[in-house]
């Protein structure tokens, strides 16, 4: 994939002690990675809730499915049950590769909600009709090399659901995914101690990756419990999610 602006997702994975900003609907939070784990599931033949292989008929739709572990279908591969781990915030960052090329995948995140790639002025995307927008397939995110065509950030307590459409008019196909994510443990900068570094990230004075939780018209909301657990609830001297302008003004600048 040599298209400008679309790169293999592995090129965007953070190393330890890398800075980032993470955008929620309420605003930005900032932090640095403390621990990084690459999590790969390949091949992942798509299964339903019963663990049955999904083989989609020609020109047909498959309703939304979570990415369940075939060894125990109760488990959602990309779900984080706890808000924190080892005393750190944590979240997934990665992408999906898919094959064969005849199958379009329409991810919704949060589950049953937003689809990516919507042109703002167009009517809603209809995965059930195999609409030619809002999908990933093996041309924009190849199975062997998942790309940031759809860069996914999954925070705790969130599921991702994926619908599929087989565009092949003649043959059935089973979607097979390459689930390639990084799990980051992160120190969230949440009080006056980090004023300077937050301001410098917001001003782009130091390198930092920018992430967005969700890929719809708006980022996902940061629920109160998550704010509290990640220490960005605005109480007792702690910051709450803020705009980049407010972040740039920290420290009285």
């Amino acid at each position: 994939m040599d298209l400008l602006g679309i790169v293999p997702i592995r090129q965007k994975f953070l190393q330890k002690n890398y800075l980032f900003g993470l955008e929620f609907r309420e605003g930005w939070i900032f932090g640095r990675t403390t621990r990084v784990r690459v999590c790969q599931y390949k091949p992942y033949p798509v299964i339903d809730a019963n663990g049955t292989t999904v083989d989609i008929n020609a020109s047909s739709f498959q309703t939304a499915l979570r990415l369940r572990d075939s060894r125990n279908t109760e488990n959602d591969i990309l779900y984080l049950e706890d808000y924190t781990h080892s005393g750190y915030a944590w979240f997934y960052h990665g992408a999906l590769g898919i094959k064969p090329q005849f199958v379009n995948a329409y991810p919704r995140f949060p589950e049953e909600k937003d689809l990516p790639g919507k042109f703002p002025e167009l009517d809603p995307i209809r995965p059930s009709s195999g609409d030619d927008l809002g999908y990933i397939n093996s041309l924009n995110s190849p199975y062997e090399e998942p790309t940031d065509h759809l860069e996914i950030v999954i925070t705790p307590k969130q599921h991702i659901g994926i619908e599929y459409y087989n565009k092949d008019a003649s043959y059935r196909h089973q979607p097979v995914l390459h689930i390639l994510f990084c799990l980051y443990w992160a120190q969230i900068f949440n009080d006056a101690t980090y004023t300077n570094i937050i301001r410098r990230i917001a001003l782009r004075e130091i390198p930092a990756s920018f992430f967005t939780a969700g890929f719809g018209e708006y980022p996902v909301e940061m629920e109160d419990k998550l704010k509290k657990e990640w220490g960005v609830d605005g109480k007792e001297g702690r910051y709450s999610p803020m705009s980049l302008s407010d972040a740039a003004k920290l420290g009285g600048r």
Partner: protein, 123 residues
């Protein structure tokens, strides 16, 4: 550019019997939004007599036939490549068939079997 693996996955095959009437080679005219690359055509002799075969395009107007290969000689026990001695390869199309166009074949007598391999520029 499509890479070779993508193209290989797209290769499809049609096998039809050509008669002395014009016989459509594809199930339908190529979809308007696509271009179809024919990468191989083989005609089998009927084991009885030498035959001649024509391959034509039916243009998008639905009435104009354009001759592509006229009077291809096929001996009874022969398997003929069209064009003659064509080197088969997924990136070496012998015909490019635009959207709305159909290919037809017919014999000068008897029924002959033709196999066509092709791929489309889009799924």
């Amino acid at each position: 550019m499509l890479d070779k693996q993508i193209i290989m996955e797209r290769v499809r095959e049609r096998n039809v019997w050509l008669t002395s009437s014009r016989t459509a080679i594809f199930a339908a005219a190529v979809a308007e939004r696509k271009i179809r690359y024919v990468i191989g055509m083989w005609i089998n002799g009927d084991g009885v007599a030498s035959r001649l075969v024509d391959i034509e395009r039916l243009e998008e107007d639905g009435t104009t036939y354009t001759m592509l290969h006229q009077g291809i000689p096929v001996a009874p026990s022969e398997r003929v490549t069209v064009p003659e001695d064509w080197e088969f390869g997924i990136e070496n199309p012998s015909e490019t068939v635009e959207g709305g166009v159909q290919l037809y074949g017919r014999t000068a007598g008897g029924s002959l079997n033709i196999t066509v391999k092709y791929w489309d520029d889009d799924v």
